[in-house]
Structures are given as C-alpha cells and as structure tokens.
C-alpha cells in the first residue's frame, strides 16, 4: 500500500469528519470561550456579540461560589465512591466467575443486563424502588425494623438521597467493571497460572503476583473511563432527587445545566464549563500519556 493516500481517499477520510466536528462542536466551543469573558444573558435583550467584555470576573465568581465548590466536591466524592466500589465488586465477581460452573452463560447474561438500560430508565427503577412503600422499605427494611421502615423517606434527607444515587450508579455500572475485568482475566495465559500452581503458590499469591500485573493496564483504562463517566452524572440526580432536597445532591453537571437553562446566566455557565473542561483535559492528557506514550 502506498504511504501517501490517493487524493480522493484522503478527502473522503478527512473532509466529512472535519465538517461535522467543526460545524457542530468546534464553532460552539470557540463561542463558549468568548462567552465566558462576557456579561451576557438572553434577558439583556441584545445578541451575545454585542455584550460587554468583563474579563475574568466570571471565573473569579466561580471560585467564590460556595454552591459551585460544593457541587464540585460532591461530584468528586460521588465519582471516587462509585468507581472504587464498582471496581472491587466487578473484580471480585469476575474472579468468581472465571472458572466453569453450571449456568455460567445465564449468570453472565443477567449480570450485564443493567449495562444496556438507558440511565433514565435506571433512575426510574430506583425512584420506584425507594418510594416509602417501595420494596426496599416494604420488604427488606420492614423485615428488620418492623413498621418503622414505612416511614423512611429516602429522597427527603440529603444523606439518604445521596445514597440512593450511589446505589443506582453501582447497580448500573458494576457490570461494566465486571466485563472489562472478566475479559482481562480470561486473557491471562493459562500456562502461567499452571506453572505457578506447580511451583506451589497459593491462589491468593497467584492472583496478586501473576494475574494482577498482567491486567494492570486494563485496570487503568477501566478506572479512568468509568471515572470520567461518573463525573458527568446528570440523569440519576435529575430524575430521582432533582438535585434535592434543596440543592444537597446537585452535581456539577446539574448546576451548570440550571445556571444556563433556569437562571439563563449563560456567560457564567460558560466560565464554569471551561474550568471543568480544563480540569478534565489535564486528567485525560495524563491518562493518554500513561497508557499510550509511556514506554513507547
């Protein structure tokens, strides 16, 4: 195959994707950078290109905005919490399912079921599960606590509302970790494990010293991809708690959405978006360096 692409193939391979990404993503992105330095809201009655430039005021405001900082901290806590729990659950489950057993195919098919559901549907499911007469109270807690359980209102207290969000996320995305860990563990060559067994290593040692080092790159991929997804979280909070009670379960995504849509404070929302983007790009860049460039 020639090194240089024929002209028509080159155009076909680069033009459509460039047009699409430029028209739909790059131009709005450029607009956003400009908006962040303006003082503009549609309510001001002028198009955004005529609005006054106020420099870094929006960014300074974000740094002093307790609601923004709280949402950021809450989203970070949420991300770390769900990713850690999902990782350990997924890894344990993948390890348990590694060998052959009766009904393995069915068990895997059921395990990955939540992964395919739309997040809005998962949010609806757990909205229904955690109603005061839902099965969580009416079936499980009632068996332990008696009639008291029916008076638990999960969505009316900040802590319990936050827990329902964690549970919804863990329910839906543990299968994601499971799938990656399972395909990683299955790919570990059998002869390595058998060799270690012959040498008398215990199964814990084999897991820690033989399997883990081999699947480490995939663990990094899984953690980073899941972490980025969890940080985006919007659907569960929007449907299950509405960010409430009050604003106590509001995530960064929700706060930006509300600033832009409800409060129509466009330029402030743009400034916050840029700050979040900068943070994440640093993390993604480090990830790409670690995974693709180090040692090549």
């Amino acid at each position: 195959m020639p090194e240089k692409p024929p002209r028509e193939v080159k155009y076909l391979a680069t033009l459509p994707v460039n047009i699409l990404l430029n028209a739909v993503l790059i131009i709005p992105f450029a607009i956003m950078i400009y908006l962040a330095f303006l003082k503009w809201s549609p309510a001001m009655g002028m198009p955004w290109w005529e609005a006054p430039i106020i420099g870094l005021t929006n960014f300074a405001r974000a740094l002093g905005d307790a609601r923004f900082i709280a949402a950021l901290g809450r989203t970070a806590l949420y991300t770390v919490g769900v990713v850690a729990i999902e990782f350990f659950l997924g890894l344990a489950l993948a390890y348990t399912m590694l060998g052959d057993f009766i009904g393995k195919k069915a068990a895997i098919a059921i395990t990955i079921y939540p992964l395919m559901l739309p997040p809005v549907v998962v949010a609806t499911i757990f909205y229904l599960m955690f109603q005061s007469y839902g099965p969580v109270n009416n079936l499980f807690l009632r068996a332990i606590m008696g009639e008291e359980a029916l008076r638990i209102y999960w969505f009316l207290k900040p802590d319990t509302a936050f827990i329902t969000l964690l549970i919804a996320d863990i329910w839906q995305w543990t299968p994601f970790m499971f799938l990656i860990m399972y395909s990683a563990l299955s790919a570990v060559p059998k002869r390595l494990v058998e060799a270690a067994e012959v040498l008398g290593a215990r199964s814990f040692t084999i897991f820690w010293r033989v399997r883990m080092p081999l699947i480490k790159p995939l663990i990094v991929v899984a953690l980073v991809l899941r972490g980025l997804e969890a940080f985006k979280m919007f659907d569960y909070a929007f449907i299950m708690t509405g960010g409430g009670p009050g604003i106590t379960t509001e995530t960064v995504s929700m706060y930006i959405y509300r600033t832009a849509i409800l409060y129509t404070d466009i330029s402030y929302a743009a400034a916050m978006s840029l700050m979040i983007l900068a943070m994440i790009i640093v993390i993604v860049r480090a990830f790409i360096w670690y995974f693709f460039e180090k040692g090549r």
Partner: protein, 288 residues
C-alpha cells in the same frame, strides 16, 4: 493441596455469591415489571405478582389526558407516541451518519494514517468530556441558527458526539482485513474509491453493524442534550421519561410501564452485540 471438604465449601460459597449478585440485579427489574402490570390498588403492596393483571398502565401512556384524581396527581401529559417516533427517527439518522463518516475516517486512519495520532485522540476528547460543559454554547449557537427543537439539529449533534465510536470500533475491524486484497483489486485496475466501496465496505459489513448498533444504543439513551435542545416538537423518549417521572408524582404503574417501553430496544440491541460491548465501551482499547 486443598482437602475435599474445603473444595466443596468453596464452590458452595461461589454459587451463593453469584446467586446474591444475580438477585441484586433481578429484584429491581422484577419490581418494575410487576408494577407495570398492577392496577392502582396494588402499587403499594409488598408482593411482586399482580393479583389483578392489567394492561391499563400501558394504555394510559398512549392517551393524552389529565391525570386528575389519581392520588392527587394533576398533570397533563402528552402521549408517548410522538417521543417514541422522534427517538426512532433521530437515533436512526444520526447512527447512519456517524457510521458512514466513521467508516471513511477509520479507513483513512487504518490504511494511510490520515488524521494523524493527535487527530484521533482529539475525537476521543469529544466523548470523554462531560456533555454538560457543551450544553451552554450549543444552545446559544443553535438558537442563533434557529435549530432549537428541530430534528435536524439533534441529528447533527448526535452524529458529532458518537462518530468517535464509529471511528474506533471500525478501525479495529478494518485493521483485521488483509491489505493484499485491496492491492489485488488495485492491480486489476480498480480506482482507490472503487476498492473502498467494492472490496473493503462489503468485508467490513459486520463491523458496520456492530458500530451502528452500539451507537444506536448510546444515542437512544442520551438525556441531557435532548433536554436542552428540545421543547415541544422534537422531544425524545428520555426527555419524555424525565418529565413523566419528575412531574407527575406518584403514578407508579404508568411510570414503570414507561420504563419498560424505554428499555425494550436497548436490551434487544445489547444482547445482539453482547460480545462486542467491551470493545465498544472502551473505544477498542480492550478487546472483548
């Protein structure tokens, strides 16, 4: 070596652990299925099998009516028909666009390294960054272009944010096609474009199907963009669900029925491409 007894104990523990996890997955699903077929009087009971089986929860969803008097919930809800048709149309068109553009780009990337490594990583960024950070400028941009609440606007946006998956999934498939076949076609006098369409495209068809179904799954489930960019005319199914569950109060039965309607297509697609789910979700970084 382990004794016989420990081995039996270990395998029993294994079955119990797997059983517990299977129940943890199944119970919420079972509850929603049961709610969807229960009449109003049974929404607050603890048993799962409905005593008086009813289709009414589904029927209600397709009617436009004010829910007055059911548990004090008063709301006028649009029938689910329009969001369902909108979702099908928007998702299908944007999937086709994303897969075709993804295919051309993947071919260039696989055979000629065209966009360069930086260009390919740039496409990854569009998927890794939170959609919420793009919502503000896209709303402003679309309102200037008068694309708000149109199918066309949604289709373009969805193709742009999912084309990454098209590129990365298809690149894996095209990399696996022996390059000699194309060279043979070119020696026979086929132009590069003809080779692309007559040789590569037919062989890569399974890849196109997998990429298409995966992108369909992702687009079908997307909420935030549709929530911001649609209002009345182009409302999609996730937006309809979010309005229905948030605002209508405690209409458990119809809400559960709606959740079931929203999950039929993604579940069918998910099991059809079960083997490729890992590849899809990790942009081909992990082979399934």
């Amino acid at each position: 070596m382990k004794s016989h007894g420990t081995r039996i104990l270990l395998s029993a523990l294994k079955y119990i652990a797997i059983g517990v996890f299977v129940l943890w997955v199944l119970i919420p699903v079972a509850w929603v299925i049961s709610l969807a077929f229960k009449p109003y009087a049974e929404w607050r009971v603890s048993y799962f099998i409905p005593k008086n089986f009813t289709w009414n929860n589904f029927v209600v969803l397709f009617k436009s009516e004010a829910f007055v008097g059911i548990m004090g919930a008063t709301a006028i809800v649009e029938p689910v028909t329009k969001p369902l048709v909108n979702s099908l149309a928007v998702t299908s068109f944007s999937t086709i666009i994303a897969v075709m553009i993804g295919f051309f780009t993947a071919y260039g990337a696989s055979r000629y390294n065209t966009p360069g490594p930086f260009g390919l990583f740039f496409t990854l960024l569009t998927r890794m960054l939170p959609p919420a950070t793009f919502v503000t400028p896209i709303m402003v941009y679309y309102s200037n272009l008068r694309l708000l609440d149109t199918h066309f606007g949604l289709i373009m946006l969805y193709s742009a944010v999912t084309v990454t998956y098209g590129i990365w999934i298809l690149k894996g498939f095209i990399d696996a096609i022996p390059i000699e076949w194309e060279e043979a076609a070119m020696l026979e006098g086929a132009t590069p474009i003809k080779t692309l369409f007559k040789v590569v495209l037919p062989i890569a068809r399974p890849g196109l199907v997998v990429a298409g179904l995966f992108i369909f799954l992702l687009t079908w489930t997307e909420l935030l963009f549709a929530l911001v960019l649609t209002n009345v005319y182009a409302v999609t199914l996730p937006v309809h669900i979010s309005k229905y569950v948030g605002a209508v109060g405690q209409l458990y039965g119809p809400q559960a029925a709606l959740a079931l309607i929203g999950s039929v297509i993604p579940i069918a697609i998910g099991y059809a491409i079960q083997k490729h789910l890992v590849t899809g979700f990790t942009f081909g970084m992990v082979r399934g």
